[in-house]
Symmetry: D2
Subunit: 134 residues, 4 copies
């Protein structure tokens, strides 16, 4: 069991009927995607052809900020706000979709290929958690 799941198990109050596996997966993906997008933005900056990658860098930066904010919010359970959780999961899935699409356009660069893949994973984890919220 990973650290995210372990911390979830230590929460002293009621977590409600949220799907814990999907929640833990989504938290993990949010932090992983924030790191991957930050690294991809920087890798793009070191490409000779950086001038053709500026939209990719920008998309990476947005996605990192939104994934981090979403991961933070999902790590909190006290005073849970279902509507806000849904709105952020929608925004996060959208950021991941957008960044994943842009990175996939130039997946001949290994960092963009990896990043596209991670964005897809995070988007899917957000959508699965969203769907499970009912």
């Amino acid at each position: 069991m990973t650290l995210v799941s372990e911390m979830l198990e230590t929460y002293p109050a009621d977590l409600g009927d949220i799907d814990r596996r999907k929640l833990a997966d989504c938290i993990r993906e949010c932090y992983a995607c924030a790191q991957t997008c930050t690294a991809c933005a920087d890798a793009c900056l070191s490409e000779d052809d950086v001038a053709s990658l500026t939209k990719c860098v920008r998309s990476n930066l947005d996605c990192a900020d939104i994934c981090f904010a979403t991961g933070q919010m999902l790590s909190r359970h006290t005073g849970y706000d279902a509507n806000l959780t849904r709105a952020m999961l929608e925004a996060c899935a959208m950021a991941c979709k957008s960044c994943g699409d842009i990175c996939a356009e130039h997946d001949h660069m290994a960092h963009c290929a990896k990043c596209a893949q991670e964005c897809r994973s995070c988007e899917q984890a957000c959508r699965e958690l969203l769907n499970s919220l009912g």
Copy 2:
């Protein structure tokens, strides 16, 4: 003219037909609300009656994270993504509404009264920018 507006004026490419005053106002409010919510969460922690304020702290922390991510995104113009901007402005307005409502419930504490006020300002700035995006 403030620093946020000044930086907006230095952007070397086309900003499109976005309302610059509303954009600058919204950016300013997002950072101000992030700071205010962070300070309010901490002030709640120092109240004797912190046990009755835990939902407020949590709401402050979410609102700070979301306002910061939104402020960061709005500070970027390269490769503008209108749908993602709208989704984050909606989430941010919702976070501010929620946090403002909770803080307003105990506005006998000066930090919550101020924070409720700032959350209303930021919510309004998000909604005005949203409406101007068409």
Copy 3:
């Protein structure tokens, strides 16, 4: 009186003998510098000559992250940790010095000129607060 100072005045417990004006100035500068550096990084991405600005973008991104973390920490007063405050103020002053120097190298671009100026202001505010901590 600004919002940052107003929130400081609402803190319900003892702030100790910290210089409140210098603390409020430094908090304000940290958030302002985070925003300015984020905007400067994005403006660099939209310059034709972005390939010569990649170190500037990276420095802007680091400076924004560190200024934000410092601003957040300075907005909290509960359980104040003087040594950690000093270490972060040192790191933040260093990030601002470094980013200000890099931006100043190409201050023919208005965003870098403004950003260099804001980095100097934030560096100075960090150093003045540091010196006042004794």
Copy 4:
């Protein structure tokens, strides 16, 4: 091989003579510690005895902000600044030491016990990377 290490391998320019294993470990620990501290702060808020845990919450929040900023900085390699890297690693190790000590004081709560452990891991990873930088 984990995603952090995989992204490190895709960096298109020279990483210099940095110890890649220690760098990847430290990046991983920074994001993991940010998540764990965010979750621990929230778990503290849901304890009946939250009034005795306010310093712990504050320390968790600082540690999360600093770990995240450090993880972001370490994920960038373009225009590497050794002095700034050292200063942030020192601040991060100090934040982790401080938060780990406070959490360890009440490790009868499972979230604080886990969090103390993760803070120790992150502190050690920061120190090992620091020492390897020469």
